[in-house]
């Protein structure tokens, strides 16, 4: 009996010891619906590191969460292009040591050295989203650019993203201006372009514009590439076009937050996501453009073209108010 008790006490002591050891965790903040739960669970099972996973739905929300929390609260976050630039400027990011990432070579080189972080000192590309035009080829003749959407035959037949920068940006691009142009006259022209399209617009929706195409509510939409591909899965007649006069690019990136308290685990987590099979799982569920060269559905030439003809949305500082006022005027 005594032996049993000693044994039990020993066990207790041992378990006490292990729990005293530093618990392996990594604190991750990511876009909502971007990584399937399964991927997180698999990582936890394999590495024994617990992932505290939080989500945000805009870059600004991420910025607010980081600036209002104690240093070391978050380890890995996924800001988009312009937010990476801003965070570098505010000295919020840790320099990355790519030597610690065994799967670094999986990243397709075309995605590196983007304008917002020229040497990838702080960020590595994760997924690329682009805005595209999608249309039901059964109901609508070929569309190649925004100006095709002005055709009066498409009355109430278009859904646009409910996003002032992307949608006004598309109008600007249609007029051959830069997506980040905030010249008053150019914005006024964009407004006139919108007025020509007005009767054709059925709705602005950012939550699920694909359902407009899937349910035949509209035959045309300007939406994110992943949404368009999901719509296409439902209806193969839906065609996806990269507009001739340009479109928005939005690259989300892996970064490690300055002062992160679990840097080792952060590298492990990023390294895991860089694996081919993990990346495949992610883009199966959320079909954005993968930056992993072994899981890409595009040739290098195609990717180069997509990157060259699209434009990143940039922070226009105070001038955001111009976009916002125009947006209010449009509605």
């Amino acid at each position: 009996m005594k032996k049993v008790i000693v044994l039990l006490l020993g066990c207790l002591l041992l378990t006490g010891c292990t729990s005293k050891q530093e618990k392996q965790i990594v604190n991750v903040l990511n876009w909502s619906s971007y990584i399937p739960d399964e991927v997180i669970k698999d990582f936890e099972k394999e590495s024994g590191i617990k992932v505290n996973y939080g989500t945000y739905s805009s870059n600004e929300e991420l910025l607010a969460k980081l600036s209002s929390s104690k240093k070391g609260t978050y380890d890995v976050v996924f800001p988009s292009d312009y937010m990476v630039e801003l965070m570098i400027g505010k000295n919020m990011l840790e320099e990355l040591d790519t030597g610690r990432l065994t799967n670094y070579a999986n990243i397709d080189k075309v995605f590196l050295r983007q304008s917002y972080d020229k040497n990838n000192d702080y960020s590595l590309p994760f997924l690329l989203a682009t805005s595209v035009i999608a249309y039901n080829s059964e109901k609508v003749p070929e569309i190649t650019d925004y100006k095709d959407l002005l055709n009066p035959a498409y009355k109430n037949d278009i859904v646009l993203l409910d996003d002032e920068r992307i949608t006004i940006g598309a109008f600007l691009q249609a007029l051959r201006y830069d997506i980040n142009d905030y010249n008053d006259e150019h914005l006024e022209e964009a407004y006139r372009f919108y007025n020509q399209m007005r009767d054709n617009i059925k709705a602005f929706d950012s939550d699920s514009p694909k359902s407009f195409l899937i349910t035949n509510e509209t035959n045309i939409g300007i939406l994110w590439n992943a949404e368009a591909i999901l719509a296409q899965d439902h209806n193969p007649k839906i065609k996806i076009v990269y507009p001739k006069s340009g479109y928005a690019l939005s690259m989300d990136n892996y970064v490690i937050v300055k002062g992160a308290s679990h840097t080792d685990n952060a590298y492990k987590f990023i390294d895991y996501l860089l694996r081919d099979e993990v990346c495949q799982k992610i883009i199966d569920d959320y079909p954005y453009i993968s930056t992993n060269k072994n899981t890409s559905n595009y040739s290098e030439e195609e990717l180069r073209k997509i990157l060259n003809n699209g434009s990143y949305i940039k922070n226009v500082s105070e001038n955001i108010k111009k976009f916002d006022r125009l947006w209010a005027k449009m509605k």
């Binding site: 910025l63 109430n156 916002d324 006022r325 209010a328």
Partner: protein
């Protein structure tokens, strides 16, 4: 004895006071405070005093949004009144058990999140939705009606969501009307319309105004209805405020519009008080 009573009184009121201070008054003061700040371009604030956010409201673009919101809210209120009165009056002729059951049914929708209910309307109203398929299928109309992604959709959504807030106060006012008065009115040869305008309406006007407030004020701010059923094409004050906080990264301006909206509400409530309404009846707000 008296002292103990006091302790009990504090025991029960203090939590409520703390709750109101912490969760209502403080945030409200914070909103008031930041409405006088400048915004920086990253969604932050520059802590210098300015009135420019309030001046900005009087930009023609925003005035148009205010007028549009008020228009939508007024139409919603009018339709709710037109439904609530006949409903409340017809309830009076029912047995008490049926009456209670029907009133409870009015409240049943509150058991479910209003966002989900609004999404439910999409299934009914869209181009290939249940209503249009039924009408086209039976040959009543030849091409589908545009029931949503326009003003009609917004009004349907608003009326549907806010109707209970009208029915309850109107019903409570109507149920207090002495049935003898109605009987007397009919005995003296008054028509149904005349009975309504001469007896029901004057006796229940504060209930009607109470209900109108409870419908009108939220109708200005329910941005999710214009987003979902209006297809995001129409902006009301609620959307404008939401945009300032979520996309335009201009919290001070959003705060200024909110304060402006609160002032508008206070004016309406003071009119209500002038008309003899009781503040207690507005408790549901």
């Amino acid at each position: 004895m008296n002292k103990r009573f006091n302790i009990e009184k504090y025991l029960f009121t203090v939590p409520v006071v703390i709750y109101s201070l912490l969760l209502i008054l403080l945030p409200l003061l914070y909103v008031l405070l930041i409405s006088f700040f400048k915004s920086d371009s990253y969604g932050g604030m520059i802590y210098t005093f300015t009135l420019s956010n309030y001046m900005e409201i009087f930009n023609i673009t925003y005035i148009r949004i205010f007028l549009k919101s008020i228009g939508i809210a007024l139409i919603t209120t009018a339709i709710c009144l037109c439904i609530a009165y006949p409903f409340a009056i017809s309830l009076m002729s029912k047995k008490e058990t049926t009456r209670n059951l029907l009133i409870k049914l009015v409240m049943v929708p509150f058991l479910m999140n209003s966002l989900i209910r609004t999404y439910g309307w999409i299934v009914l109203l869209r181009k290939n939705g249940i209503i249009n398929s039924a009408l086209v299928g039976t040959g009543i109309i030849s091409s589908p009606l545009s029931l949503m992604y326009n003003n009609i959709g917004i009004i349907i959504g608003m009326v549907y969501t806010l109707l209970p807030f009208m029915i309850l106060p109107v019903y409570s006012a109507v149920s207090k009307v002495d049935p003898n008065l109605i009987e007397a009115s009919y005995d003296l040869g008054a028509s149904k319309t005349k009975t309504f305008t001469k007896i029901y309406l004057p006796l229940t006007i504060s209930g009607a105004f109470n209900g109108s407030l409870m419908v009108f004020i939220p109708a200005i701010g329910y941005f999710f209805i214009t987003d979902i059923l209006g297809g995001g094409k129409i902006m009301i004050i609620g959307n404008l405020i939401k945009n300032q906080f979520l996309t335009a990264r201009n919290w001070p301006f959003g705060a200024a519009i909110s304060i402006f909206l609160i002032l508008m509400t206070l004016i309406l409530v003071s009119i209500y008080k002038k008309l003899g309404g009781k503040m207690d009846d507005l408790g549901g707000m």
